[in-house]
Symmetry: C2
Subunit: 235 residues, 2 copies
C-alpha cells in the first residue's frame, strides 16, 4: 500500500517582524518552548489547528495570547509539509505528519505590547543575531525575511511602521535596516522616493544631534491612492 | 473537547497557465473528474499526498500523468484549509478535513503535450470562459491569475512563453492577453521595454499580414543578468 494517503495535523507559525527605528534593529518575535520537542528552545509563535477552526483563526488565536498590537494583518507566507519536519512524527513512514502554514506580519514597534503569561516567555530578537530555532523555523524565518524585503521594494509597507512624521533619513535607515546597508546610496534613494510624489512636505524641520535641520515628511495616502494597483518600485 | 486537534488529509492542486500566442488566449489546464464528489465536472489537476511524499512531489506526480512539457517549474501559490471546503468532510465538525496546497506554473503552449489515458479527460480552457469548477477551484484559479499578472509586471516570465524571436507587438499582445486590454497603451509599453535594455535587436524584420515590416527581438539574458535581483517593473 505505497499509495495510501498520509494523515496530517496542521500547524500555523507566525513570522512577526518589527523595526526598532531608534536603534535600527530588525526584530522578530520568538517564544520559548515549554514542552517536548525542543523544550527550552526558541521558536516562532505557533499552534496546531483545532476542529472547526480556519488556518487564519488559529494564527490570530495564538498571537492574541502573546502580543497586543493595533491592526495586526497577517498575510500567508508559505506552507512547509515535507515528511520528517517534526520529531513528533513517528519513525515509520506511516505516522501522522506535521504540516506548517506560515503567516507573516510587520508591526509598529511602539504599538506592540508583549504579553507574559505564567511560565511562557515571549521576546523580540534581532533577526541577525537570534538563536538557532526549533523545528525548521530558521528556514521559515529566512523565507519571511525575503518576503519582507520584497514588500519594502514593491509596496509602501514602510509607512506602516514609521512614525507619522519622519525625515528622509529615517526612511533610508529603515530600508537599510531591513535590506542591508548596500541596498542603495542615500542620494539615489532620496531622489527616487521624492519623484514618486507620495511624500508630503510638512514644512516642519527637526534637528537631530549635531546635524542640520531636516525636513519632516508624511506619507500622502491621497497621492498614493491612484498608484495603488500599478506596479511600482520604491528603491 | 472544543480544543481537540483537527485531522487532515492534504491535497495539491495545480494552476497551469499557458498562452496561445497565435490566438491571444490565456489558457488554464483542467481535468474532468471521474468520481464523487463533483463527478463529471471540471477541476484543477490535483491529487492527495501519500505516505512519505513531499507536497511538491505529489504536485509533479499528478501533472506527469496529464501533461508533458519542458522545464516545468512549479511555484507554491497559496494554501486553502478552512473547514467545509470539501464535501468529503463529514457533516459533523470532527471529521477529517481536506486542505489544499496550490501550485502555479506558466508553460509554453507549443511545448506542452496533453496526455490522454483511458477515460480521463484533460483539456486547455480559455480562462475567461471556463466552466464553473469543482470545490473552491474557481477561487484558486482567480488567485493564480492574480499571481500571473503580478509576475508579468515584475519579472521577465513573458520571455519563457514567447518564441525565441518576437516583435514588440507580439510581446504587447501577450501582456494584453494576460493583464487585459487596458493595461497600457502600446507606445508607452514599447518605450518602457526598450529602455530596460534587455531586448536585443536581431536586425531581422518580419512582415505579418498587411502591416509594415516589424523588427524581431530576442530576450538578452546577458543584459538581464545584472538586473536579476533588483526590483524592476516591466509595464
Amino acid at each position: 500500500m505505497t499509495s495510501a494517503l498520509a494523515e496530517f495535523v496542521v500547524g500555523v507559525d507566525n513570522v512577526i517582524f518589527s523595526v526598532d527605528t531608534d536603534a535600527n534593529r530588525l526584530l522578530v518575535l520568538l517564544v520559548q518552548r515549554q514542552h517536548w520537542p525542543f523544550a527550552g528552545e526558541w521558536s516562532l509563535p505557533g499552534t496546531l489547528v483545532r476542529h472547526g477552526e480556519s488556518l487564519e483563526a488559529a494564527a490570530y488565536r495564538t498571537l492574541a495570547e502573546k502580543i497586543c498590537v493595533n491592526n495586526l494583518y497577517l498575510e500567508q507566507l508559505y506552507t512547509f509539509g515535507g515528511p520528517g519536519r517534526d520529531p513528533r512524527e513517528a519513525d515509520t513512514a506511516y505516522g501522522t505528519r506535521y504540516l506548517s502554514v506560515s503567516y507573516f506580519a510587520l508591526v509598529r514597534f511602539a504599538d506592540a505590547q508583549l504579553i507574559a503569561t505564567g511560565e511562557s516567555r515571549v521576546q523580540w530578537f534581532t533577526v541577525h543575531s537570534c538563536p538557532p530555532l526549533a523545528f525548521d523555523h530558521s528556514m521559515i524565518l529566512a523565507y519571511g525575511h525575503r518576503r519582507l524585503c520584497n514588500k519594502l521594494e514593491y509596496s509602501p509597507v514602510a509607512f506602516d511602521v514609521l512614525p507619522e512624521y519622519f525625515t528622509l533619513n529615517d526612511l533610508y535607515q529603515l530600508y537599510s535596516t531591513v535590506l542591508g546597508p548596500n541596498f542603495s546610496d542615500y542620494s539615489n534613494f532620496r531622489s527616487r522616493l521624492l519623484k514618486l510624489g507620495i511624500l508630503q512636505d510638512t514644512q516642519q524641520k527637526v534637528i537631530r544631534g549635531a546635524g542640520r535641520p531636516a525636513t519632516l515628511y508624511r506619507f500622502d495616502r491621497e497621492a498614493f491612492a491612484p498608484l495603488k494597483d500599478k506596479p511600482l518600485v520604491f528603491v
